[in-house]
Amino acid sequence: MARLAVSGGIVGFISGRIVRAILTMFVVLLISFVVGRLSGTPFEIMFPDGLTVDHQIALEKKFKLDLPMHEQFKLYVTQIFKGDFGRSLHTGEKVWAMYALRMPATLAVGSLALLVAIIIGLPLGALSALYRKNVGVTGALLLVFLGYAVPHFVIGIGLILLFGYVLQILPTTSLDTWRHFVLPTITLAIPMIAVLARFMRAAMLDAIGQDYVSTATSKGLTDADIAKNHIFRNALVPIISVVGLEIAGLLNGTIFVETVFSLPGVGRILIGAVEQRDYPVLQFGLIAYSLIVVTVNLIVDLLYVVADPRIRLGK
């Protein structure tokens, strides 16, 4: 895989990934800064009745908008490192506080869905590769195929109709008890189960064809041993990076799931920010979501090193 085409062994690999993560966050900050600057001056929103030219210049001086662009960017980055993400243009609330209040719900549903997707998706993909002729497995795989094509918001609405209105066994809004978590988590997990099962199946089929499997067979190991120790473990290695790549998609998904189930997460802050062109709020979302993905990807890369001795030993 291209991701592993590095020299310098384990230290080179890890430091390369860290540099890349930092550079990525730098680009994110740059995009965020550009979004903020290109949105025009905030004064148009703060003073909808218009401003005198003098007043405008005074304000620009006060908020340091008269500095050259690279100076402004430097200022912006220093502010962020001091933890100052600005205030909402509409409510005047600290952006940081707005998110802090609602981030737990998003993270809870997101990580639960990730867990469910891994627990269901990996075995499903593995079984479908080992038992290619089994009807039940093929059927499950077909369902998974549906998960690929159906967007979160349609899955959510379908589940609300089925479990909320027809069967009336599960609540469909907010997050008060554990039962409230069931539908949002499943909705968020289904597309990811589809992706993981599919990649796991491919990775298993790939591993089955390798020489070490023939070797293991000729050594007289049982099928179960080979499947567990040789095929499954080797297939897991490429899957780790798939999980990392899917995190961004999962975070996208939380926005839809929160809208469908009216959850108190950050999704609605983001949509509100877009509707009201409240760009400090959106900037924070961009930075926070990207930081989550970058961090998870970094962890994934470290796991990669642990899982694959070929990298650990610098081969």
């Binding site: 994110v28 549906l146 094509a149 609405i157 961004a248 926005i255 760009y279 990207s290």
Partner: protein, 293 residues
């Protein structure tokens, strides 16, 4: 193997049809073409404008329910607008935006991918870095940022979708070009004095046709769902333009009394994405394309 049928052997007509195996790709393509035609022929199929409000016929059920009528075969929404007409015009909106966005991103991605693959070196490193960044930043956040900046006009959606999707094509095209370079004929034509542009157009591009067909088919649904998703959230296509995503979103408040308001456009969207997925998968097997660029 021979499946005995009462007609087999004595009818050349029947034999002719037995010769054609109606495989998955064909069947799905025909069905998909049908959906596209429904969208294109919307003004012929229905005479009710998608925006015509009829407050006397609010939330009418589809024809197969009690109280439904053939005048509104798929029922009406909470403002008494015809669901059939709205779905058909919604297909137009969705396909239009997705197709233009896809073309834009494909042109951008394919050119950049070919350049990176042929030039190599720093251009290639830069591309791979940008690709990495794009994979990392959640797409939806980038789309939202673009909308905050530029508004929700349709051209903004098309451009933003294009700008966000190109890296996927660039990465795969780059991989294909690198693989092609190993085959030697590109080097050969370089030795013969062909310019880089000529090599790209005459030798590389034709060899990219089958992988590109597969990639574009497989990514059409996700492009379509970008628009549908944004519209669902209320920040994509704005009323009065009918949009499938927006219809699903606004029908959410009426799920209990009028499921068809969200349900009908959902069925349309899922049919489209599923058909594309099946066609793309079938094509990949048929053309034997590997996409791990």
């Amino acid at each position: 193997m021979s499946h005995s049928s009462p007609f087999s052997g004595n009818s050349s007509f029947w034999k002719y049809f037995q010769g054609i195996k109606p495989d998955r790709v064909w069947v799905c393509s025909v069905l998909l073409l049908g959906i596209v035609l429904l969208g294109l022929l919307a003004p012929v199929i229905t005479h009710i404008e998608p925006t015509t409000v009829n407050l006397l016929a609010r939330s009418k059920p589809p024809v197969w329910y009690e109280g439904g009528s053939w005048y509104y075969p798929l029922g009406t929404d909470n403002l008494g607008r015809d669901m059939l007409s709205r779905c058909l015009y919604g297909i137009r909106t969705s396909f239009g935006i997705a197709t233009l966005g896809l073309i834009f991103s494909a042109i951008l991605g394919v050119s950049i991918g070919i350049i990176a693959g042929l030039v190599g070196g720093y251009a290639d490193e830069l591309l791979m870095f940008i690709t990495d960044v794009f994979i990392t930043i959640p797409n939806l956040l980038l789309l939202l940022a673009g909308i905050v900046l530029l508004g929700t006009e349709i051209w903004v959606l098309i451009v933003m979708i294009g700008l966000i999707r190109w890296e996927a094509y660039a990465r795969i095209v780059r991989g294909q070009v690198m693989a092609l370079r190993e085959l030697g004929f590109i080097e050969a034509s370089h030795v013969l004095g062909a310019s880089r542009l000529r090599i790209a157009v005459a030798h590389v591009l034709p060899n990219l046709i089958s992988p590109l067909t597969v990639i574009l088919t497989l990514s059409f649904p996700s492009v379509l769902l970008m628009e549908a998703g944004l519209s669902f959230l209320g920040v994509g296509v704005q009323p009065p333009t009918p949009s499938l995503g927006r219809m699903i979103g606004s029908g959410r408040d009426y799920l209990l009394d009028a499921w068809w308001m969200s349900g009908m456009p959902s069925i349309v969207i899922v049919s489209i994405t599923l058909l594309f997925q099946l066609i793309g998968d079938g094509l990949r097997d048929k053309l034997d394309v590997r996409l791990d660029g």
